[in-house]
Amino acid sequence: MRAIRRVRVLISRQQLLIELFRKDFDVRYAGSVLGVLWTQLYPLLLLAVYSFVFSTIFHSAIPRFPLFLFVGIAVYQFFSTATQLATGSILANAHLVARVGFPRELVTLSVVLIPLVDLAMSHLILLLGAVWYGVSPAWSWLAMPVVVVLLALTCAGLGLVLATAAVYFRDVRFFVEVGVLMLMFLSPIFYSESAVPESLQWVVQINPLAIAISAYRSAFLDGTWPALSAWLTLAVVGVAACWVGIEVFDRGQRGFADAL
């Protein structure tokens, strides 16, 4: 099996993945703690605007609305940043991809790890929010990192496909930009999934991002473990995405040298 062979190769080159991650990390955060904290400014500003719009203007009835909203924003930001960085990853690293021989998937995988740092940092704000709103720690919090890992698998697989496509079709990233924006409104970030009418429930039930956000939020705010169906969907979608991603990338990369 090609995919399994590739996974073995990738695992054997984990040191390179770490170095590529360090490179992206340094470039993104200017190598400083302040740089890492700085990236939280973006979701915080989003939170300020969305809170104003949805609680002051639309009078959302959801309790602890800012915290509810921030969980959604944090998870969404991870998905959106990971997908967009991954899409541009091969083009952005053309100087490496076209001129050095190494497993090129690692370039894409390393940028998926970058927004994980952002998401981890968001938890400082989430914890402050939890204290402020009196959310008590629950065992279900243990589900949160697992949900993120499964979502990250989906991003990695999707990212590998999009990164390959972006080499041959340079305007793919614009479609990706619009796509993640559409997903923002199709996922329960500003609203709760129960607010979606019965006839449209399938939209949030087949969308892995929606499932991840709902599961994450219930685990964090309500102390509820994700349902078995949510686990299954996230796991199946994650593994399937990686499999497809590796297969597509492996076929596409033979032409990278010609197209870059």
Binding site: I18, R22, V27, R99, G101, F169, R170, D258
Partner: protein, 267 residues
Amino acid sequence: MLSSLQPASSVAQPLDGPAQPPVAIEVDGVSKRYRRYAYRNLSLKGRALDLLRGRGDQFVEFDALRNVSFRVRHGEMVAVLGRNGAGKSTLLRLLAGIVEPDAGSVQVHGRVSPLLELGAGFAPELSGLRNVYLYGALLGLRREDIAAQIDSIVDFSEIGEFIATPVKHYSSGMYLRLAFAVAAHLNPDVLLLDEVLAVGDVAFQAKCMARITDFRAQGKTIVLVTHVLQHALDLCDRALLIHHGGLVDDGPPGTVLDAYNAILTSA
């Protein structure tokens, strides 16, 4: 001898005698075809419009390499000669694993350290020091092994305090010195050199030559693309002559140089 190699000739290798060192590089019936695009639309929008207009990619295909076979034994130093565009660099890119052959197989036993293009594998925005680690990892080295060599790499490169500066601010000479220092210190089994030495100043070139001589003495395998024919004569055990993508001669540097000169004068 100037003849195009037939597939059968690649099989007719001498049997490995007990005194022969093991094979370091095996290139078997390798072909590589490139496309030179006159028109290629790299966007979805453009593709969709082209589809409606019935316009497709326009390109000419050319064989950068055609059915090339040879073996290099461990400890040999081989020069690759040929005119510009003959396929020499493609051959090294195949050996370095940067591109895959369309047909045939390339096997390199041991760790390869390629020095093909100036600054290839460097991330412009990272410091020289960080690039050493990144490049080492790209070549498959462990961090500890790079750390053990880092002082001698920095010394050799003569970059000095600028090692902490992002390499985008480096001059081409500094790029070369750092790249050569890294490639030469990472204990490769096979060293691939593509004319990059032409960039450095005379003193550094001499230093690189000394290092290459050391490598030879240590029994490393070296493949060198060069237009400095004297290098091929003085340094190498053997030379390969590539012409129009085919391997047309393979033997002692002296005789291969004669064949090369014959090609140059006939052109």
